[in-house]
């Protein structure tokens, strides 16, 4: 290929803070995920689930069914738009169902978002610019958090808005604002924990297969193990091995709704465990993210 005759033009301008550059990492990460057609199978599952809830809410509120019939229909979907005291928050239940989709999506996209930077030695590309590894790590964590939020928190809030929209007044939103806060709190816990875990795991394992196997082991085997140990010893603290339960408990701790006293007892421990795991992962991540990787 010959040299293009285009002339070189200079550029003069002010460079902004490297923290703003982390948003570019988020933008590019979302671009990477949404451009992969194979991921749309998983994203489609999440969208389908969201639309199902959306249609159910629409149908029930517009069909003006008797209250009992409405309640029965909601129960089929495990959803309660305005929970009574001691009742499970329907939006949180929706987010938990969406979390399965998120888990599958992250298992596959971790390699693309983070692992590829290590595998293709792209870290010098990032770290030789004006950002350092703090900005890189924060950018990648925000990117994963954005994906998690787009599949859990945002649709849950949309459902909350939808339900309020179909009621005759703004009374639903005013009376149940705590639901929106609890959705945000649980969403924040999901984002923080899942992003730190997947970014660290992907930084070390790099390729799709090992990440997917380890990730699914974390979130499937530990649930089974926790359940088995609890059955064998009748000790509820074994439930703390289940990361989903830990995240749910911490979410509940954020907005103070507990169905059972037992859950309340172990919620603080769940927070300690998650904080500990996240802290260890962050230390490992900081050690792993280096511009120069000398092996021999």
């Amino acid at each position: 290929m010959g040299i293009n005759n285009a002339h070189y033009y200079g550029w003069q301008g002010k460079l902004h803070s490297p923290w703003i550059s982390t948003l570019s990492i988020v933008r590019v990460a979302l671009l990477q995920v949404f451009r992969r057609k194979s991921y749309w199978v998983v994203i489609g599952l999440g969208v389908f689930q969201f639309l199902s809830f959306w249609i159910v809410i629409y149908a029930i509120t517009q069909a003006r069914l008797p209250a009992n019939a409405q309640r029965d229909l909601y129960e089929v979907f495990g959803f309660s738009p305005s929970p009574e005291p001691g009742e499970e928050n329907g939006y949180i239940a929706f987010m938990q169902q969406q979390s399965v989709v998120v888990m599958i999506l992250l298992a596959f996209s971790g390699s693309l978002l983070v692992g590829s930077d290590f595998r293709m030695k792209s870290l010098p590309f990032y770290l030789s610019r004006r950002i350092d590894r703090r900005h890189y790590i924060v950018g990648k964590l925000l990117a994963v958090s954005a994906i998690v939020s787009l599949l859990t928190t945002v649709p849950a809030l949309l459902l909350f808005l939808e339900y309020g929209m179909f009621t005759p007044s703004v009374g639903y939103w005013r009376e149940n604002w705590g639901i929106a806060v609890s959705v945000l709190a649980y969403g924040a816990v999901l984002c923080a924990v899942l992003s730190i875990l997947i970014v660290t795991l992907s930084a070390y394992l790099q390729r799709v297969a090992p990440i997917a196997i380890t990730w699914s082991s974390l979130f499937v085997l530990l649930i089974r193990l926790a359940s088995y140990l609890q059955d064998a010893t009748d000790n509820n603290y074994w439930y703390l091995l289940d990361p989903w339960r830990d995240m749910r408990l911490v979410g509940k701790l954020c907005f103070g709704v507990f169905l059972e006293q037992e859950e309340h007892d172990i919620a603080a421990w769940a927070a300690v465990i998650l904080a500990g795991v996240c802290a260890v992962c962050l230390v490992l991540l900081v050690r792993r993210v280096r511009a120069v990787d000398i092996v021999e």
């Binding site: 010098p124 004006r130 950002i131």
Partner: protein, 322 residues
């Protein structure tokens, strides 16, 4: 202000000394950083860029302290890494825009500038293709575009012709040469391909086993070899060459029909070139001392320091650097 001013710089990996008490000063222009594999070139480049912290010593580039002013430094320096270092799924223009964003350019400027530099490096037509579809040569151009996007004063190019076929290499060298002559930017070219340095660079830093054994203007470092000359003539050359050989001169003909490199015997007087030319009806048009080329210069200075090891970093598992 010097372009680069490095004093007593050292960097170790565990107990392996990658850079040992390195000191040199370079002026604006094109600088070749040469050495055998494992001599410490890439380590030095990364220390200069602030990607690795030196264990001892320090210095400045463009007046910025390499220890403490790394962010300011990177705003004024463009780095083209040796590795592929691309981001999968992105298109060419998105990749270069990302580089601009990471430098801290406003996004709109970064995008506009990405189009400009991609045009400049000859990738204008390929800018909307995904990076997976780029050939090795195009990836090298793309990395150069990413290093140029914020219009740096200094470019650090780590093995820019690595992995390219002869045509691609020539094309890349043309591009870098064009960039240097058109923009007047300073370039530090890190490579073990001496012809690349010889073609592009005015200054040179020779690294050997982690130490700088020569640094400065290339012309000043070249030795004139006392009894070797380049000669040129007009007229019947066969007879003239035969006469020179008969007088004990070793003649190496080159591709040019009326030029040669000659090595004179002991006791030779240069007036004999003219006398023999007159005898054979030739006119001597050129007689100049033969300067050693970069390859000979490199081997001479490295041999003075002893044979090169197979690697400055012997077979040992090292952990990450800084």
């Amino acid at each position: 202000m010097h372009l680069v001013d490095i004093q007593n710089l050292s960097r170790n990996y565990g107990h392996v000394r990658a850079l040992v008490d390195v000191s040199f000063t370079l002026e604006q222009g094109t600088i070749g950083l040469v050495g055998n594999n494992g001599a410490g070139k890439s380590t030095l480049l990364k220390v200069l860029l602030g990607l690795l912290k030196p264990d001892a010593g320090g210095g400045t580039i463009l007046g910025c302290d390499i220890r403490h002013a790394t962010r300011e430094l990177r705003g004024r320096v463009g780095y083209m890494p040796e590795t592929a270092a691309t981001v999968p799924v992105l298109k060419g223009v998105e990749f270069v825009t990302l580089a601009g964003d990471l430098y801290g350019m406003p996004h709109r400027d970064a995008r506009r500038r990405a189009h400009e530099v991609l045009n400049y490096v000859g990738l204008g037509e390929l800018r909307y293709r995904r990076l997976e579809e780029y050939s090795t040569g195009n990836v090298q151009r793309l990395k150069l575009a990413a290093a140029l996007v914020h219009d740096p004063q200094l470019l650090l190019l780590d093995e820019p012709t690595n992995g390219l076929d002869p045509e691609g290499r020539q094309s890349m060298l043309d591009l870098i040469h064009d960039l240097i002559t058109e923009t007047g930017k300073s370039v530090i070219l890190c490579t073990h391909l001496l012809p690349d340095v010889e073609r592009l660079c005015q200054q040179i830093v020779v690294l050997h086993r982690g130490t700088v054994i020569r640094a400065g203007a290339m012309a000043a470092l070249r030795h004139a070899v006392g009894n070797r000359f380049e000669i040129g003539w007009q007229g019947p050359g066969e007879g003239y060459v035969a006469a020179l050989r008969a007088a004990g001169v070793e003649v190496s003909l080159n591709s040019h029909p009326d030029r040669a490199t000659v090595q004179t015997p002991a006791g030779w007087n240069n007036s004999q070139f003219f006398a023999l030319a007159r005898e054979r009806d030739c006119v001597l048009t050129q007689l100049k001392p033969d300067e050693e080329d970069l390859e000979r210069l490199f081997f001479r200075v490295t041999e003075e320091k002893g044979p090169a090891p197979t690697s400055a970093l012997p077979g040992e598992e090292l952990k990450h650097g800084h």
